[in-house]
């Protein structure tokens, strides 16, 4: 049987990669992808752990997926709005608010 730890290792690395993407990438869509990876990492943990056959973890993961969808919808709408005005979604170049 697979040790539970290995699920956690994979999720940890996935989480770290997601955070690294968020921190180093300047493109808004890339950042959003990084966030999705981080959410998935958390979900792997929630799904893998199962305390006494309870389904709480899986339910949590379901809700996370739903929230992720909502967040992505709003997020992409906003990113598109940014693109319409700035003609770029590079976060370094989106700096109208200066002072």
């Amino acid at each position: 049987m697979i040790p539970l730890e290995h699920f956690y290792f994979i999720s940890a690395i996935l989480f770290a990669l997601g955070l690294a993407i968020v921190v180093t990438r300047r493109n808004a869509i890339f950042v959003l992808m990084g966030v999705e990876l981080m959410l998935n990492a958390a979900n792997i943990n929630f799904v893998a752990i199962s305390h006494g056959g309870k389904l709480e973890g899986q339910l949590f993961a379901l809700f996370v997926i739903v929230v992720a969808a909502a967040e992505a919808a709003v997020g992409l709408a906003i990113i598109l709005a940014v693109y319409r005005r700035f003609k770029t979604i590079n976060l370094d170049k989106v700096n109208e608010i200066t002072d």
């Binding site: 956690y8 999720s11 989480f15 997601g18 955070l19 968020v22 808004a28 950042v31 959003l32 990084g34 966030v35 981080m38 959410l39 990492a41 958390a42 979900n43 943990n45 929630f46 752990i49 305390h51 006494g52 309870k54 709480e56 973890g57 339910l59 949590f60 809700f63 996370v64 929230v67 909502a70 967040e71 709003v74 997020g75 906003i78 990113i79 709005a81 940014v82 005005r85 700035f86 976060l91 989106v94 700096n95 109208e96 608010i97 002072d99």
Partner: protein, 495 residues
């Protein structure tokens, strides 16, 4: 395992105590319908003020009738007196914002703003009652998603820029928090964090992963209250959102965040048994928050941006109450939160008024406005004094109270960090005066560049009366703080 019938009856029973929220949900749906059917924004405005009042009244009644804590919906929520009281404060905040929104063109021009604001309030309601990690996560998102949209409501370059930054930052913060939650769930096997088993499990958990998980978890909460280092979204969002939305951001999500942080802090502190000194860590964060808030505010020329940093500094002051960890400290936090809500919304109302009438946003542009708006000027002076925390205003009493509990905590634990926080916090009051006086300074000390048609015009604006009432309450809370404190004393913060 409880039978299906038991579960269903639990849902029905819970629904009885869920009145304000059900009202809120139906209100949100109603507002959406009204927005679709009626073209005039006046109706929306009226309906929302009515709805906010109604929710406030039901929440107040719920608080009054509440005797013992009630667990709702299979213990997802815990309706206890602090939660009921926090809900009332949030309702007051939203009601005031709704009144203030009467002047807000961006909000009135898009009717969707009203349901969004009430959704945010619903999120706040759930967050203050939350006793389950899942609900904490969901309600934080329920607050955040409308916030992202509302931040963009000017629909100009700056608006969407602040929205995208707010969104990405918020999404990352909640992802961090979620990962922390997944570990905490791993330790405890339980999502209900007020159960004793939960605390026991945390006590048995290994310290290193527990610390990592807690730090991750805290980051999400610190983001909501705009504490350093998760504050950087706030100045941008405050500068470029509609002023009424800023007033909302600076109060409702922040206070809801504080209520849950206060609860959660007890958990991670494991009631003093944690081997990690969270009190010192949070104290240091509070100090840095104060420092960054105040010093950055000094450099701002835009009034809204300055007030954004001021609200970050206030976060630092409220964290003082959190690290004092006592029942009295929670009461004092509540007092502070109430005063803070009143004065912040009041000051933003006046900022919005001048923005609307004179089209001014920078502190320099306020010059000479006292001649044209004498009464408004006086009100701004009083409010700034209150924000700075000087007598004779409620801001002073609030600060006195939180520092009192901090002193008591220091006296009890002899933790030197608390003493430094104490001195540091008070010194910051002096620094803060520099920028709080900036607007009155320009209004009163500088003459207008175009003194054309001077001679106090009769500017009869309803904001003056609205804010005057708030200011009177703020002054009253200095002279008779017992009036509010007696009410707060009925709240049992015991866990």
């Amino acid at each position: 395992m409880a039978s299906l019938a038991d579960k269903l009856s639990d849902i029905l029973n819970s629904a009885v105590n869920f009145g304000p929220e059900l009202l809120l949900v139906s209100g949100i749906l109603l507002l959406i319908v009204v927005d679709l059917m009626v073209k005039s924004s006046r109706w929306l405005s009226v309906v929302s003020i009515l709805l906010a009042t109604l929710v406030l009244v039901t929440d107040a009644m719920q608080w009054k009738l509440l005797e013992n804590p009630v667990a709702l919906f299979s213990e997802f929520l815990m309706l206890d007196s602090p939660a009921a009281a926090w809900k009332v404060v949030l309702d007051i905040g939203v009601l005031l914002v709704m009144i203030m929104a009467g002047r807000s063109v961006p909000l009135k021009s898009r009717g969707e703003s009203y349901p969004l604001i009430f959704t945010l309030l619903l999120g706040g309601h759930l967050l203050v009652m939350a006793s389950n990690l899942l609900i904490v996560y969901l309600s934080i998102e329920l607050i955040s998603i409308p916030s992202y949209v509302l931040a963009a409501f000017h629909f100009n370059k700056r608006g969407v820029e602040s929205a995208v930054k707010y969104l990405l930052f918020g999404a990352v913060a909640s992802a961090l928090m979620l990962y922390g939650m997944s570990w905490i769930y791993t330790f405890t096997g339980n999502l209900n964090f007020i159960r004793p088993e939960f605390i026991d499990a945390l006590l048995n958990a290994d310290i290193i992963p527990l610390t990592i998980a807690t730090v991750l978890m805290l980051s999400g909460l610190l983001f909501k209250i705009a504490a350093v280092p998760f504050h950087i979204w706030a100045p941008d969002a405050y500068t470029s959102s509609p002023t009424a939305v800023v007033a909302l951001f600076s109060t409702v999500p922040k206070l809801a965040g504080f209520s849950i942080l206060a609860k959660w802090f007890l958990v991670i502190n494991l009631f003093g048994l944690s081997s990690i000194d969270w009190v010192s860590i949070l104290s240091v964060i509070a100090m840095i928050t104060l420092l960054i808030g105040n010093f950055s505010a000094l450099r701002q020329s835009s009034v809204k941006r300055m007030l954004a940093y001021s609200s970050i500094a206030h976060t630092g002051f409220m964290m003082v109450a959190i690290v004092s960890v006592s029942e009295q400290a929670s009461r004092n936090l509540f007092f502070y939160a109430t005063v803070y809500t009143l004065m912040n919304i009041a000051v933003f109302t006046l900022v919005q008024l001048l923005e609307h009438k004179e089209n001014i946003t920078k502190a320099e542009e306020y010059k000479g406005m006292i001649r044209k708006y004498p009464f408004t000027g006086v009100l701004i002076v009083v409010l700034m004094i209150s924000l700075a925390g000087l007598p004779p205003t409620g801001g002073f009493t609030a600060k006195l109270l939180v520092f009192t509990s901090l002193w008591e905590a220091y006296d009890y634990t002899q933790n030197p960090v608390l003493l430094y926080l104490f001195l540091f916090g008070l010194l910051n009051t002096v620094i803060s005066l520099f920028f709080y006086l900036k607007v009155p300074f320009f209004m009163i000390f500088r003459e207008r560049s175009d003194p054309q048609k001077d001679g106090e015009q009769k500017n009869v604006v309803w904001e003056n009366y609205f804010v005057m009432i708030l200011v009177l309450v703020i002054l009253f809370l200095f002279f008779k703080p017992d009036s509010l404190m007696d009410v707060i004393n009925n709240i049992s913060f015991a866990f």
